[in-house]
Subunit: 335 residues, 2 copies
C-alpha cells in the first residue's frame, strides 16, 4: 500500500467547456479511518455527464462540488482497513468515493458488490447508476406499453443502450439516435431495431424515417436539436423523459430550449424530469431484475475502460466529444 493519496481536485468553476486548469492533481498523506469508518482503495471510477452540473455553483438536485474539494465521482473499490461494524476489510463496495486513489467513508450511500457475479466495472454501468437511470427513467417515467415506439438519444451511451434493451424486453420498438457509423453499429448490436445517425442525416428526417407511426416515448439524454426533432414526431399522449441534455451542458450562455415545445399541447403529451436518486430505495429490486436479464442473455453490458486519474480531464472530455462506447470507466489502479 502506498503512503500517499493521489487526488484530483476541482480548483476553478468551468465556464462553458471545462478547461484542464480547473482540475489540480495533488498528493496528501493517506487518510486514517476513525471509529465507524473504513478506508477504501478505489479501483474503478465512473465518468458521467452529470459531473458537468456538479461543477457549477448554484441550486440543483445536489450540492455543487466545493472549490478545493476532490472531484465527486461514483466508484468501486476494496476496503483495506475498517473500524466499521458493517463493512469489513476485503469487502468490495460501491459509493461516491471521488476522483482519488483512497477514500475514507462512514458507509453512508455505500453498497457491497460481488465480483463473482459481474466484473467490478459493471457495477458502475448496467448494475450501477446508469443502469438504474435507464430502468427507472424508462419504466417509471416513460411508462412504455407493448407495441409502443420508444426513441432514445445517446443510444450508444451507458444509459441509452440500456434503455433501448429494456424497451425491447417490454415488447416495444426501440429506435436509437447516435452520432457516427461506429456508434450506430454498436446500438444495432445491442438490439435497437433502427438507428438514426445524426451525423449522416438530418435528425428530424431520420426520426420520421425510423418512426413512421410517430414516437410514444422519447428518452432524452441530449437536448438541443435532437429533442426538437423528437417533439415534432410525438404521438398522442406521448411521454418525453428528461434524463439529460449533454449537448447543452458546456454552453456558458443562451442554453437552447425546445422551440417547438407546444407540440406537447398539440399531442396532449408530457415532458417529465426525474433524478435517479429518488429511487434509491428500489435499487436492489432493479439490480436483481437487470442481473436476471443479463443472465438470460436479454441485456448486454459494455464498458469503455480508460486508464488512470492523472488524465481525468481528458477522460471527461471524451464524454462530451462522444468518443465512448458504452459506459466510460476509469481504471484507477490494480487491485
Amino acid at each position: 500500500m502506498r503512503d500517499n493519496n493521489r487526488q484530483v481536485k476541482l480548483v476553478q468553476r468551468p465556464v462553458g467547456e471545462p478547461a484542464p486548469e480547473i482540475f489540480e492533481i495533488s498528493e496528501t498523506p493517506l487518510p486514517q479511518p476513525q471509529d465507524g469508518e473504513f478506508l477504501v482503495k478505489v479501483l474503478y471510477l465512473s465518468v458521467d455527464p452529470a459531473m458537468r452540473g456538479w461543477m457549477n455553483e448554484g441550486r440543483s438536485y445536489i450540492e455543487p462540488v466545493a472549490l478545493g474539494d476532490v472531484m465527486r465521482a461514483g466508484a468501486v473499490g476494496r476496503i483495506v482497513s475498517s473500524r466499521s461494524a458493517t463493512f469489513s476489510e476485503g469487502d468490495y463496495v460501491s459509493g461516491t468515493f471521488g476522483v482519488q486513489h483512497y477514500a475514507v467513508s462512514d458507509g453512508r450511500g455505500v453498497h457491497k458488490v460481488d465480483p463473482s457475479i459481474a466484473p467490478l466495472e459493471r457495477y458502475l454501468g448496467v448494475l450501477g447508476m446508469p443502469g438504474m437511470t435507464a430502468y427507472f427513467g424508462l419504466l417509471e417515467v416513460g411508462n412504455p406499453k407493448e407495441g409502443d415506439t420508444v426513441l432514445v438519444s445517446g443510444a450508444a451511451g451507458a444509459v441509452g443502450a440500456t434503455v433501448g434493451q429494456i424497451a425491447k424486453i417490454q415488447g416495444c420498438t426501440a429506435v436509437g439516435i447516435a452520432g457516427g457509423q461506429a456508434k450506430c453499429d454498436f446500438a444495432r448490436e445491442v438490439g435497437f431495431d433502427d438507428v438514426v445517425d445524426y451525423k449522416a442525416e438530418q435528425v428530424h428526417k431520420g426520426i420520421k424515417r425510423a418512426c413512421p407511426h410517430g414516437v410514444d416515448v422519447y428518452f432524452d439524454n441530449v437536448g438541443g436539436e435532437i429533442l426538437e426533432g423528437a417533439l415534432a414526431r410525438l404521438r398522442l399522449h406521448a411521454r418525453v423523459v428528461l434524463c439529460g441534455a449533454i449537448s447543452q451542458y458546456n454552453k456558458a450562455e443562451s442554453l437552447r430550449g425546445p422551440r417547438n415545445y407546444m407540440a406537447l399541447l398539440v399531442h396532449r403529451a408530457r415532458m417529465e424530469g426525474f433524478v435517479v436518486f429518488d429511487y434509491s430505495h428500489r435499487y436492489d429490486e432493479a439490480a436483481r431484475q437487470m442481473a436476471q436479464w443479463i443472465k438470460a442473455g436479454k441485456l448486454q453490458a459494455r464498458e469503455h475502460v480508460v486508464d488512470g486519474i492523472d488524465d481525468f480531464h481528458n477522460h471527461l472530455m471524451m464524454l462530451f466529444r462522444g468518443e465512448n462506447f458504452g459506459k466510460l470507466v476509469i481504471k484507477v489502479q490494480d487491485d
Copy 2:
C-alpha cells in the same frame, strides 16, 4: 330578417402578426337549411387566442381554416328556421358558427343554452370553452392539492381568471401574472391572493416575491419569458399545464423555447399539454359545477363585449395587445 349574410373570410395566411388584409368582408345570399339542418342567427362570437393557430397551414390539433372560408369562431345564436328533429325555431344554441351573421348547421357540436340561467355571452366565457379549458386544465392536468401554490399567467383573461378562482375553491393559494395596473386590479378583484405585474417588475423577481415557497402548479397561457420565470421557481414534483403561448403566436420565426426547461429535471416536475376538446364528453358535468359555484358566489364571470364583425381584425388584435378584461366577445347583432 335580412336577405343577405355578412361574412368575414380568411383570404391570406398571416405571417407573424395578422394584417388586416388577411380578412375580407363579403355579403352572400342567406343560406337555406336542408333536411336535418337549421339556420341560426348569430348573436355573440368568441374571440380566442387559438384563432391565430387556426389560420396557419399545417398539422395541429384541428384542421386549419381553408383560404376563402369563413373564419372559424365559437358563437351563440338563436335558431330562426329549422328542418332538424333535435333543434327547433327559437332555441338558443352554442356552436362553431363562424364570423358571420347567419349560419347553417346540422347540429354536430351544437348545444342548447338557457338565457334564463345566464346572459348569452357567458356561454362563450365561464360556461363555454374558456371555462371548460380552465376547469379541465387545472383539475385534470394540474392536479392541485389543498395548500398548493397555483401560479397562473394571463390572469385577467377568460381562462386565467377562472383558473385562479377554481384554485381558490380547491384550497390553494392563487397567484396571477398580468400586464398593467388595471389588469392586476381585476385579477385581485376576482380573488387572486397576489398578482405579479410583468410590466411593473421583472417577472422572475415578482414570482419569487409572490410565491416564496415556490410553485406547485403553473398554468401557462403565454409562454416566453414568463414560462421561464415560472420554471425557475418550481417546487418538487410540480406540474406545468401548457394551455397556450400567446406571447409566441405571432412570431413568424424562431419561436422561443423555455431555455431553462431542465428545471423539470432538477425539480422532478412535468410539463403537459392538453386540448379541451378531449373532455367534450364531460362538458355538462363541468358546466353544472361552474353554474353552482357562480350561484354560490364563489366564481365570478366577466365578459368584455365589443361590437360588430366588420371590425373583426381590430377585435382580434385587442387580444394580442392584451387589451381585454375577461372574456372577449363580439356582439354580432341584436336578437
